[in-house]
Symmetry: C2
DNA sequence: CATCGTAATCGAAACGATTCGATTCGCGAG
DNA sequence: CTCGCGAATCGAATCGTTTCGATTACGATG
C-alpha cells in the first residue's frame, strides 16, 4: 500500500502464504485442484499484500496468448464507426470473440508513414482486417510475417487467407432488376466512395477505371447489369447528408449536365445514402415513391426515416462479424480458417413503386 | 519458413548475425547507436530467418509497457458507437493517444457476471472509463487495485481520480433560459435514458429519484431551473427514432395524458433526439420553428436535417476525448493527472423562434 | 609511445508468470 | 504392517526481451 514500494508479485504472495509459487499460481488460474484451506491462505495473503492477480504481461509471455484480437479498419476510425453496418459487424465480432474472452484492439490503418504500423508492435493473438483500401495489403503483409491468424472482411486478400465476403454484385443486380421490372427506365445511382480520396462527383468511365474500393465497384457492376449506361454520382461516404447532396446533384440538375430528364428512380449503394436521397426528394416536393422511387442497400434499421420503410437489400452484417470472430476462434485452436460467403436478401419496403404514368 | 519449426527469436538472429543478443535488440529498438555494418548484418540475419521483430509480449513484460489503453464504454458497444458524441470523443482520444503511440482496447462493461471482468486480465497501461452506470464503480475498483492510471469521462468517479467533465446542468439551464426568453411557456422535454433499463416513458418524480445516469439528471435539472414543472418523456437512447417516438408521445397526445395543451417548444437532451422531434413535427404538419420550436444538445453535425440548422448547446466532444488522452499521457510519464472541466457554447440555429401569437 | 576518451559491443540479470514432471502425504486394501 | 495409489503441492525450467554496467577497440592527443 505504501507508495514507492514495488508491486507485489505472485512470489511475494506465495511466500506470505507459505506455499510455492506454483501453488499460488494455480489458485488464480484455477486449472488444477487446490485444497480449500490452501486457497484461502493464498487469497488472504494476496489481499494482505494488495495483490490484484497475475500480471497480464507476464502471463501472456508465458502462455503465448494475450487475449486480444486486433481489428484494422480501413480509413479513419471516426469514419468507420459512423457507418451502422460497420458498427453492427463489430458487434457480431465482439460477440463471437467474447466467447473466447478476447478483447478488441482498435488499430488504425496508419496514415502517417513515419511510424512503424501499429499492428507490428501490438500484442495481439490474431487480426481482423476490415475494408478495402490498398493499405490493407501492407497490414496483411506485416501480419503474415508475424505468423498471426488473420481474417479479412470484404477485402481483396487474394490467396490463402480466410475471407468473409458478400455477394455485392449479385445482390445489386437483383435490386436493380427489381427497379427495372417496376418499369423504371430513367434511373440514376449514388455510389459509395470510389477511392480513399472520397471525392464527391459524377461517375465517369475514367473514374471507374481508377477506382480502388472493391465494394463500390462490385455494387456498381451489379447495377450496370440492368442499367449499363445510367448516370451516377459517387458520395463522400455512407452518410445521410452525402446522400442528400448527391441526390440534389441528380434531381436539381437544372442544366441537365448529368441527365436529360429527371430520373424516376434512384438506386443508392447504402441505406444511409438512400435516406438522404429521400430527404432531398421531399425537400424538392417529390413524393416517394409516387414521384421518385428510391432503393438502398444494407438493410440496417435506417434511423430517421419516420414511417417509411426502405426497399433494400438486407445484408447479414451481424453474421458477417460473428463469422469472422468464429474463424478467428477456430484458428486460435489450431484448425484451419475457412472463407465464408454471405448473400443478401431482398426486402421490399414502401419506397419503390412503378413510375408515374 | 518450414512449418512446425519454432519461430525465430532475437537470440537466433543474433547468433546468425554473429553478434550478441543485446546488440541485436538495439538494432530493432534503435535506442543506442549501432554501427551501420552491424545493423545491416543483423537485419540481413533477421530477414533470412523470417524474424518479424521483437515479440511484443516479451517486450512488454520487460519494459512494463504494452502500449495499450483500455476504454470501458458503459452499456453495449453497439449502443455506444451509435452516438455521434461518443464517436467524436473516441476520435479525440485516439488522436491524443496516437501521439504516445498507444492503441485502444475496447472493453465492455461486462453484463455477464460469471466471468471475471475483462478489464482485470487485459494488458493495458491505463484505462479510460466512459459513461455513467453504476457498473463503472466496479470497473474503477478493479483498475485502482491494479494501480493503473485512470481517467473518467462524464462519470461519478468521486474522489481522487482525474475526471473530464461538462457543465451539463448550467448549459441546459442556459438553453432552457433562451427558450423561455423567446416567450415559450408551454414546453416539454425529451431526456436521455434515466437508467440502464432505457425505459421509454413519461418522466415522473419517482422515476427521477430512482434514476442513475448523471448526465441525464444534470441536464434535466438545468432545464427545470427555467421550467420546474414541465412535462417530459425519457427516450430509450440518443437516437433520431427515439426522438421521433418521444415527440409523437408529446405532440399527438390526444387524450391529454401528459399535457393539457400542445407545447410550443420541445427541449431535447441531444441533437439526435431533437432531429427526431423535428421529423415528428413535420409529419404532424407542424412547421419548425413557426408552430413548434425545438432545441437540442451536443452540437454535433446533425446528419439528415436537410437545410435546417439546429439551435443547440455545442459541447466540445473532440476536446473532451483529447483531454482524456492527454491526461493519460501525463500520468504515464509519472505526473499527476488533473481533472478537466469543459463548458458548452450556445449555438443559435433556425429551429427556435418566438411562439406563434 | 603511453594514455585517455568515446563509441560500439557484450554478458548477464531481471521482468513475473505458467507448467510439467517429481515428490510428498494420507489412507484404504491386501 | 506394508504397499500402492490418487490428490495436493513443490522445484525448476522457460517464455523472449530489454537494459545496465563492463569491456573492447580505436583514433587522437600530449
Amino acid at each position: 500500500m505504501s507508495t514507492g514500494t514495488r508491486r507485489a508479485t505472485i512470489a511475494d504472495v506465495a511466500r506470505e502464504a507459505g506455499v510455492s509459487t506454483s501453488t499460488a499460481s494455480v489458485v488464480f488460474s484455477g486449472k488444477v485442484n487446490v485444497a480449500d484451506a490452501t486457497r484461502e491462505k493464498v487469497l488472504a495473503a494476496a489481499a494482505a499484500l494488495g495483490y490484484a492477480g497475475p500480471d497480464p504481461r507476464a502471463a501472456s509471455l508465458r502462455t503465448g496468448r494475450s487475449g486480444i484480437v486486433g481489428v484494422v479498419l480501413g480509413g479513419e476510425l471516426r469514419h468507420a464507426f459512423l457507418d451502422p453496418v460497420t458498427t453492427v459487424m463489430m458487434d457480431g465480432l465482439t460477440d463471437a470473440l467474447a466467447s473466447i474472452s478476447a478483447g478488441i484492439l482498435l488499430l488504425r490503418d496508419d496514415p502517417r508513414d513515419d511510424e512503424p504500423p501499429p499492428i507490428a508492435d501490438a500484442p495481439v493473438d490474431a487480426v481482423v482486417l476490415i475494408g478495402c483500401s490498398t493499405r490493407t495489403r501492407d497490414a496483411l503483409d506485416v501480419v503474415r510475417q508475424r505468423g498471426l491468424p488473420v481474417v479479412v472482411i470484404e477485402g481483396d486478400a487474394g490467396d490463402d487467407v480466410p475471407q468473409v465476403s458478400l455477394d455485392n454484385r449479385e445482390a445489386s443486380a437483383r435490386i436493380a432488376q427489381h427497379v427495372f421490372q417496376l418499369g423504371h427506365r430513367r434511373v440514376a445511382t449514388i455510389t459509395l466512395p470510389l477511392d480513399p480520396s472520397r471525392e464527391r462527383a459524377p461517375i465517369t468511365p475514367r473514374r471507374v477505371i481508377e477506382a480502388t474500393v472493391p465494394v463500390t465497384l462490385d455494387r456498381l457492376s451489379g447495377f450496370r447489369e440492368a442499367y449499363p449506361d445510367a448516370p451516377g454520382v459517387s458520395a463522400g461516404g455512407s452518410l445521410v447528408d452525402e446522400g442528400y447532396i448527391a441526390a440534389r446533384m441528380l434531381l436539381a440538375d437544372d442544366e441537365g449536365v448529368l441527365l436529360d430528364e429527371r430520373p424516376t428512380a434512384i438506386v443508392a449503394q447504402s441505406d444511409l445514402l438512400a435516406v438522404g436521397a429521400i430527404r432531398a426528394a421531399e425537400e424538392l416536393g417529390l413524393r416517394v415513391p409516387d414521384d421518385l422511387s428510391v432503393v438502398g442497400f444494407d438493410g440496417i434499421a435506417a434511423d430517421g426515416l419516420g414511417s417509411l420503410v426502405l426497399t433494400t437489400m438486407s445484408q447479414p452484417a451481424l453474421a458477417k462479424g460473428r463469422a469472422a470472430g468464429e474463424q478467428i476462434a477456430r484458428m486460435l485452436e489450431g484448425e484451419r480458417g475457412e472463407s465464408v460467403h454471405f448473400t443478401c436478401e431482398f426486402r421490399e419496403g414502401g419506397t419503390a413503386a412503378p413510375p408515374a404514368a
